[in-house]
């Protein structure tokens, strides 16, 4: 049995918020252990002085001292989980600066999260899984080429995607809305196999990812069942032809968003999940529906409009929709409303999530929403950079899974 992955917890408030148990449970379920770096009392003031951030809270001082101990190598860890109370401004400053400090001064993967008392282990699972994958499977993540015939299936909250790869080429794809998880996956797999002109027996290894990864993985007998943070990072740099060096991956999904700072194909820091649905692909789906266009037509429609003409700056999908309806009722054009919706989503991701990671070029946008050119344009405007949307970007999770699964072909 492999050694448990040791995740250092730097936090303020989870014990008193009643979510410490959830953190332990999430770690336990991925065979990791969470521990608090042990430091001496005398180290606390010294560390806080040296760090230079004069905070009032004693637990935040302790967080800083523990972070410094990790960077200075006084405590061994495989990954770092930084957690503080949602809504605490002082904690948000420490969380962000500490994450940046550890990222810049060590090779430790870091994930940060602001919790409420309603945070569950399920919410934390993907993040913990990503931390343990980076620690445990560096060799697998270093894989830069797909070999043999492998298949990747991404069971997302909105859509299920399947990809068949053969000798480093995508030879088959399948895409279906996620309704019944297994049924949708079967359909996507059947389409991908048909397009590839192959049968299930030809597949040498299977990888699954996304929300339904465990169910689909069990059903298909997958060799690799992996969360989407590491899989998407790998898939993104692979498809963008940028496997070495730094990059930033943005995936605005149906239910949550991922922003990942990647180095040599391995995620360094990442955030997952926005505050609300107003910053998600779901909002764009609703916008398309209200405008009476297919989601694939929303991007081109938005490119013809001027988002500035429509006031839409909501942090909530309900109020966002209200703005949209009001704008249409006031006579705004569909083009302008589409552009405003794209800008609103991009702006919220920018404000809520991209502030939590270090943006390094190239910025690669992936996932189904990367096909909405109005959204990509809005993000590029906000970041003042040209966004890379690699070919097959909508299949990112499936491609990453197929690529990594080739490490499990027997005999390798």
């Amino acid at each position: 049995m492999s050694r448990k992955v040791r995740i250092a917890q730097l936090s303020c408030g989870p014990e008193y918020s009643g979510v410490q148990k959830e953190i332990y449970e999430a770690a336990e379920s991925v065979d990791a252990e969470v521990f608090f770096p042990d430091i001496a009392l005398a180290d606390v003031e010294r560390a806080v002085d040296a760090f230079g951030l004069d905070v009032r809270s004693a637990d935040l001082k302790l967080m800083i001292a523990r972070g410094k101990a990790l960077v200075e190598g006084k405590v061994d860890a495989d990954g770092v989980f930084i957690g503080t109370c949602f809504r605490c401004a002082e904690a948000a400053i420490v969380r962000n600066e500490l994450r940046r400090y550890i990222h810049e001064h060590s090779r430790l993967p870091v994930v940060s999260y602001s919790f409420t008392e309603r945070t569950t282990s399920g919410t934390l699972l993907t993040r913990m899984e990503a931390l343990t994958t980076i620690a445990r499977r560096r060799a697998l993540l270093a894989r830069e080429e797909q070999t043999g015939i492998t298949m990747g299936v991404d069971s997302g909250s909105s859509t299920t995607k399947a990809v068949v790869m053969k000798d480093n080429e995508i030879v088959g794809t399948g895409w279906h809305p996620t309704t019944e998880v297994i049924k949708s996956a079967e359909s996507a797999v059947a389409d991908a196999l048909e397009m590839a002109g192959l049968t299930r027996e030809d597949i040498q290894a299977i990888g699954t990812t996304g929300y339904g990864r465990f169910l689909i993985g069990k059903h298909l007998g997958a060799d690799l069942i992996q969360e989407e943070l590491t899989v998407n990072s790998k898939g993104a740099v692979y498809l963008a032809g940028h496997q070495r060096g730094a990059s930033t991956v943005i995936d605005i999904g149906g239910m949550d968003n991922k922003a990942i700072s990647v180095l040599d194909g391995i995620p360094g820091t990442f955030t997952m999940g926005g505050i609300c649905a107003g910053a998600s692909g779901r909002f764009l789906e609703m916008t398309a529906k209200r405008l009476g266009v297919d989601i694939t037509e929303l991007g081109p429609l938005a490119m013809k409009g001027m988002g500035k003409n429509v006031p839409m700056n909501s942090y909530c999908i309900v109020f966002g929709t209200q703005s949209l309806v009001n704008a249409l009722a006031a006579g705004s054009s569909r083009e302008d409303v589409a552009a405003a919706a794209c800008h609103s989503v991009a702006e919220q991701v920018f404000e809520q999530q991209l502030q939590e990671i270090d943006i390094k070029e190239p910025v690669i946008m992936v996932g189904g929403t990367s096909l909405i050119e109005g959204l990509v344009y809005a993000m590029g405007q906000l970041l003042q950079t040209e966004i890379v949307v690699p070919p097959h970007s909508q299949y990112i999770g499936a491609v990453g899974s197929a690529l990594l699964a080739s490490g499990f072909i027997k005999g390798e």
Binding site: Q20, K61, C88
Partner: protein, 150 residues
């Protein structure tokens, strides 16, 4: 004997001083002991469940971070019970730190609003100040006794 809330509530020295001079210290040990001894509650390390931040709504609104509300669920009932308080400001971490500065602000505000007798002292930085510190605590606590007797 009076029930005296101590601040920092985690200070064992302050707790001991209050007890030595014949009063009941209300501090973190008391509030936390109740939770770790409650059977059937299993959230480590303080046996706090997500219910606590909800109970903390009595002391702080929902906009306030969950950790503050969870802490107030521990300290709030003690503040309600307190008949007097000894507050030590600018205390060293080793003297007994409180985790959250925002909770500290709310506790101190609540105490000052309560109208109970309060002794506020600055943390001593040398031996002479230390002697004066203990003498002041003793005098304050002795005064409480007189009030109680009267």
């Amino acid at each position: 004997m009076a029930k005296v809330f101590i601040y920092p509530a985690t200070s064992l020295i302050l707790s001991d001083l209050v007890a030595r001079f014949g009063h009941k210290p209300l501090g973190a040990a008391l509030g936390i002991r109740e939770r770790i001894q409650t059977a059937g509650v299993d959230s480590p390390p303080l046996q706090i469940t997500p219910e606590e931040p909800k109970r903390g709504l009595k002391y702080a609104a929902v906009e306030v971070p969950s950790g503050v509300r969870g802490r107030m669920a521990i300290y709030g009932p003690l503040l309600e019970e307190a008949e007097a308080a000894v507050i030590v400001t600018d205390a060293d971490l080793a003297f007994g730190c409180m985790g959250c500065a925002r909770t500290d602000e709310l506790i101190l505000f609540t105490l000052r609003q309560s109208g109970i007798p309060i002794l506020e002292l600055k943390y001593p930085t040398n031996e002479e100040e230390g002697v004066q510190f203990v003498a002041a605590v003793r005098k304050f606590l002795a005064g409480l006794e007189k009030e109680g007797e009267a």
